[in-house]
Amino acid sequence: MLIAFSIMLPFLAAALIPLIYRRFKNIHLGWFVLIVPVALFSLLATYIPRIANGEVFIKTFEWIPSFGINITTYLDGLSMIFSLLITGVGSLVILYSIFYLSTKESLHHFYCYLLLFMGAMLGVVFSDNLMVLYVFWELTSVSSFLLIAFWHHRKASRAGARKAMTITVSGGVAMLAGFLMLYVASGTFSIREIIANLDVVQSSVYFVPAMCLVLLGAFTKSAQFPFHIWLPDAMEAPTPVSAYLHSATMVKAGIYLVARTTPIFGGHEVWFWAVSGVGLLTLFWGSFNAVRQYDLKALLAYSTISQLGLIMSLFGLGSAALHFGYSTQSVIYTQATFAALFHLINHSTFKGALFMMVGIVDHEVGTRDIRRLGGLMSLMPFTFTIAVIGSASMAGLPPFNGFLSKEMFFAATLKITQLDIFSLDSIGLLFPIIAWVASVFTFIYCVIIVMRTFFGKIQPDRLEKPPHEAPFGMLISPFILVAFVIGIFIFPNVLGHYILSPAMASIYPMFPSVEEMTPHIAAWHGYINTELIMTFGVIVVGVFLYRTLKKWRPVYLWIPQSFTLNAIYERVINSSESVSGRVTNRYMNGNLTYYFVYIYVFFVTLLAGYMIYADVFSWNPSKDSLIEPYELVLVFVMIAAAIAIIFAKQRITVVLLNGVLGYSVAFFFVVFRAPDLALTQLVVESVTTALFLLSFKYLPKLKNEYISKSWRFAKVTISVAVGATVTLIGLAVMNYDRFEPISKYFEDSYDLAGGKNIVNTILGDFRAFDTMLEVVVLFIAGLGVYTLIKLKAKKGDGDVESK
């Protein structure tokens, strides 16, 4: 119950923001918003000891039980890590943003989006039901879009937001297809139940396709190669957003998904190669490209990409342990997963601190371009401290937590080469090599961050503002984070025991012993091992390459501009826009006749085609009631009117004959004792006829245009076919018995829904979901009309696009 409440709380707070914003104009809104994540963090922290004892908390709210869609909140070790990151880093980011964003900005929008995002993210990590997870997943994409485009007057912000949204949402849709396949294979949407019935799922034909689709979702969200291109552009967002969404939480959603579905897919060769291969490729590519960046934020974006790749590849390596099932030998391979979880937390700490550091530099100096920065060390000593600790941790140097997880990463890549599955004994050698090369580049860009910003000569004439130390409030959050960076290095096993090992139990549910999977983390193993030598190599080679950076920078020009992934993405988007525009203009030519032709041809082929395919033509008049003479008269009147319309020469005749048709239908409703239908029909018919007559003088005369013989023949054929189809359906429907008729529900409407009016019991009870959403749609449509009329751009606002 409390967990469900914690998902709801950010949403409720987001709804309250406008009220608070209006009441307390002079207090920074952030202080009120800060309450939410801090409260949630404290609440969740109280669960830590019980989670560490191996308890899990499950609560189910039935939502659409007939489809197996229920809101099941599920708190275990894995959700715990992520939820603590979301709320913990969230608190710090909001605290930081209070000082970062001035009250001149539209803060109520900003915090509303941020809370939406927080709630959606908590929803992702607490949902056991795949469909509910998907809803929250897309909600994170949407809120991220809104946050990236927060400064929507800037063209780059809008472009970046659109790019992030396009890529992550398409991945999300692919993931949805994967979830549906899992549902078909297992018959349930619940992750726990799927894990419980693994044999059924793994023997299904959908297993590998579902795996690939789910991975697509995870890779797009976590900015893995080749989908990483949205992350650098997302850096147009305000820095607190970058720190929160694009380093600590949202991009971790993909990693969460991989971790959560490891028990389902892990141990399969495709999964192993996809996750670890793509992860390593991303690790290398991200770190390689980070070195060439001049903008500090872009540099950090690429470094985030590479670190995410590192975590991803570790999860891939760790999944190999599931290939053997449980044994004392296979436990050793779970170390990679442990390292992944460990590095996940470490990355959030140092990357969050570094982003905040860059935000401070940007805020106080007015630029993030490393070519214009330099020599800030003596002017901003606190910021410098944060930068050094964060960068050193990222580069994997002692005495910071990044060193520990980097060592474990090297150890895992070395260990995996000893396996003789998945042809690892040959290709596996690439793992430690790529890992080491990528680490060298990581080291280089960490050095760049520190050296180019804080050392060297200061260039005051190239800065926007005179540099000075940031206000104290802005420094609190990054200092807390770097305190964690050091604290985790000193006491890693506290974290290991309380936080990481319960998560291991969620990823390896079939491994009985959690203690075996929780290694003792130590900085110094008492002897010089391969990992330590690798770290030394990284430092030596890294320093050498940093010194000679100017000489080998031309390497980056080898890939021509038109072949970069970004250019390819742009080309795909632009060409798809122009092609779809051309196609649309071909068939949407404004001619109503054509539209009717499309609609009716489709209608006839679908319905008549299905009826022929299923062979359901049957006509048994014995059960029909008698036809009264006046009904016959009505029918003939209608037929006569309909035929007369075709040959009418004047528009007024057409309108009136159309009215005749409508009123005859209303008469039929009366005859068949449906008063409310008859009433509605009469009203609608009168109103449309009246409207026709009102606008009559504006309508052009009916044109007697020449129609070619063949076109006329086609039109007649289509009309006859439509008529025939409808008639045949009407006749056949009486004897159709493929589906169970639903009429018995309506007969018992009083017992089932407590109402005698069948129509309304359908609306309010049997199909209430439709009604509810119709109401929402109606409301949104109304708002749309309102905004279109009220907020029309004034003349001269046309240049909004070009800013």
């Binding site: 407590g754 109402g755 609306l763």
Partner: protein, 140 residues
Amino acid sequence: MKVNDVILKSVVRGVVFIVFTLGMYLFFAGHNAPGGGFIGGLVLGSGIVLLYLTYDIETVHKGMPFDFKKVAAIGVLLATGSAIASIFFDVPFLTQTDGYYNLPLIGEKHLSTVTIFEAGVALTVIGTLVTIILNISEDE
């Protein structure tokens, strides 16, 4: 130009009450007879539009100081809220319940939570209808 619409005004004074009464009747009758939230809301909304047509906007606004956008929003919240509320009673989303209650003064009545849901529908319809019509008419 001043339009002399005395007849219209006098007629509307009477007719609006009839329309409103009919709307309310339709709304409550929907349980066992033709009517319901949608149609009740439409009738009430059209009555309000009739008032706006006859008198000018300021006059009506003195009598009914509602912001109809908010009316629509409250309607949506009622409809979705009554749906979500059922979750907290540990029954599936959107479950409605009904029963017979003996109320003071008016005797035994059949009450149902569908009424809350339908009230949400009606308010949304009223709010959206009036908002759209008012804004289109104001738009020059």
